[in-house]
Amino acid sequence: MAQADASMMDAGQGPARAETEKLVTSDGTPLKRALERAERQRKIAAVGLVAPLLIFLLTVFIWPIAQMMWLSVKNDQIVDALPRTLQELQTWDGQDLPGENVYAALHADMMEDLERDRRDRKTGPMGIRLNYELSAARSAVSRTSRNVDEFEAPYKDAFMDAHRLWGDPALWRVIKREGRPLTASYYVAALDREYAEDGSIVQRDENRRIYVPLFGRTLYLSVVITAMTFLLGFPIAYYMSILPMRQANLLMICVLLPFWTSLLVRTSAWIVLLQQQGVINSGLVAAGIIDDGSRLSMIYNQTGTIVAMTHILLPFMVLPLYSVMRTIPPSYMRAAKSLGATPSTAFRRVYFPQTLPGIGAGGVLVFIISIGYYITPALVGGQSGRMISNEIARHIQQSLNWGLAAALGTMLLVGVLILYWLFNRFVGSDSLKFG
């Protein structure tokens, strides 16, 4: 670019030198304007080159992420369904059951909903929303809404007859608390916490805490997988870097094989290899290393996840490492040895530090990919090998609690960004080399 600029300047100045007062180009336009025009055209060209990718990223990346983040706080179900009830609840003390006025408002809200077209009804989604906070709240809502047109005053008794929860202040507290357009409750749940009676946030019962341990396990597994890919990838990348191109390419194909094999084929292969009656166990038993009763569990647990994901992600470590190592001339090691360093010192002090950009890039790639991985853990991870993404996927696809999924996803995203920031801070992203 700089060179292009320079030549453009030369082209403009050449003919203009004849004029001393005001510089003009050969066709008479003032030089300054000609330059501005050239500059503008250059900018337009630059924007034109970048625009397609920018638009693409905005529509398929930025926008969906923004939507996801919005979903994690969006909370219009109760506001939409119970405007009158919420109005009446404003003066409720939150301790005893609310008065008849609230139940009458609830009746009016539900009656109004019956008038709506089925697809526009608000009580169904409200019931599902309430059930996230309080089990059985959904059936309290749906059973009542079916018969609400037969209710007669006093409504309080009618509702309490229809479902026991209408006589439980806990349900009313949830309605009041979540009766606003934005909520933090998905994040509260994602952190294994819940609202206590007085509205403070407390930890959940120990036997219902799952997300924080899962986040911890995801981090742990990602670190282990990154370390494994490094331990396995470094020697092979080094070996490839000192081989002649042809042989290195052959080896590279072997490393890249997981990329080209379908997931199902790979999964079946791992099962055949790793299961208790599988090839490895049978081999160990046949060799007399273990006895038949103590076959190793290597699949449907963390080992399975680690083995499978290390296999899949190995290329992401090897490629940056290899490309960095290729550029390290052998003369550095020779120089170090000639200066008196033993081979191991030379490796440690001279060769290894120069591979750090590759290790950094490979490590960041593998770590970030594995933090978000979910297909492989779902297939071979069993229970102990599942990661947070599996829980996100479950909430997206099965429980349909998109708010919670979005909160978990946002936390994962923020976590990755923080880790990247830390990496950038202490290692420096400019030293990354992706190949």
Partner: protein, 368 residues
């Protein structure tokens, strides 16, 4: 919308012939189901006969049922509903129904009566019509299956209690990685009568009791996720007994020749059936198809291809032999009297209400 529904209801009640004469424009229906042998049984029992009778109809199979709920919601929110008919579980159907993204069904108006004139609402098995949007199709059950070779001949597991008895029946067991079925069985094995299970499970003490029972075998459990994994684990000798869907187990035993036996004690019975996405593009054509595909004969026909029981009482007598194997299918139905001695009917309402909480508890229990 409402007027359309009334129109269909009226016409189906009036006459099938008049209806099929009315629609002749080519139409293609996207029907979402579970894939594999199950979709195959639907193709042979429903789709092929229907397309033969109605050459203008093309049926496209989509194996998306595992994530049907998410798909329905996504399509509804995008305002572009491309699915015409979806096969799903009643608990999911209940959620979709509450959200208003599938159609409410008036069973007697929209579905065929039994051959003897019994209205559809009385012909479908008791309990199957719970909910406003769900059209039952089959009864399936989750059963315990054992590998006889893993035990001495005179001491074979034969009850759900034996599943929890690692002393007399040692070896690893495969259970599904979700609370449903497992918690019911834990209580059943602990002495709770089938009809009381959900009342007990609705109390915190009951939940603690179920988990305490599960704790006793925790070290011997292998969890499975996908339906195909359970028979595979048995066949590979990875486990000595496994829970699984009776149809998959039937297939593995009778078709693949796996050496295993189904224990019908405490089978957890659940329905599976159709829902119609609201705002589908071919609702008239779908309703015609449904009227046909859920009648007594068609439900009985499906049992020729897979060992799931028809959801109509009137179909039971018509269940014949397996289309390919030639074995009598009636004894393999979950609903056969000799199998149906101690069924636990899965309570969908319970699971919709308590599912989130119990799943969390179960996930936590598995994490420990």
């Amino acid at each position: 919308m409402k007027s359309t529904l009334k129109l269909i209801g009226a016409s189906t009640a009036a006459s099938v012939i008049a209806m099929s004469a009315a629609a002749d424009d080519p139409v293609s229906l996207t029907i979402v189901s579970w894939g594999g042998a199950y979709t195959e049984s639907q193709v042979r029992a429903y789709h092929e006969p229907w397309m033969e009778m109605n050459p203008h109809v093309t049926i496209i199979n989509d194996d998306g049922s595992a994530n049907a709920l998410a798909g329905l919601r996504a399509q509804s929110q995008a305002g572009n509903v491309t699915w015409d008919l979806v096969d799903m579980l009643p608990s999911d159907a209940q959620l979709a129904c509450d959200e208003g993204i599938i159609m409410e069904i008036d069973v007697d108006e929209m579905l065929a009566p039994a051959p003897d004139g019994t209205p559809a609402s009385e012909d479908f098995l008791p309990g199957s019509l719970d909910g406003d949007c769900f059209i039952p199709q089959i009864v399936y059950s989750t059963v315990l299956t054992i590998r006889p070779g893993a035990f001495p001949e005179d001491n074979q597991p034969s009850t759900i209690a034996d599943l929890f008895d690692t002393e007399n029946f040692p070896g690893r067991r495969a259970l599904q990685d979700r609370p449903g079925t497992n918690l019911e069985w834990a209580l059943y094995a602990d002495g709770v009568a089938p009809e009381d299970i959900y009342d007990v499970l609705a109390t915190p003490e009951g939940v603690d009791r179920a988990f305490a029972k599960l704790d006793t075998i925790k070290d011997d459990i292998v969890f499975w996720t996908e339906g195909a994994q359970a028979p595979q684990l048995l066949a590979d000798g990875e486990v000595v007994m496994a829970t699984g869907y009776n149809g998959r187990m039937f297939d593995a035993i009778e078709v693949e020749g796996m050496d295993a036996e189904i224990v019908w004690d405490g089978q957890v019975v659940e329905w599976d059936g159709w829902v119609v996405p609201a705002d589908g593009q071919n609702i008239d054509a779908v309703m015609e198809y449904l009227y046909f595909a859920t009648d007594t004969q068609r439900l009985a026909d499906q049992a020729q291809f897979i060992s799931y029981g028809p959801a109509r009482a009137s179909s039971a007598a018509l269940v014949g032999e397996h289309a390919d194997l030639g074995i009598d299918m009636a004894p393999h139905m979950p609903t056969a009297p000799e199998n149906y001695f101690a069924p636990i009917i899965l309570d969908n309402d319970f699971w919709v209400d308590f599912g989130d909480e119990l799943r969390e508890r179960f996930a936590n229990w598995m994490l420990q």
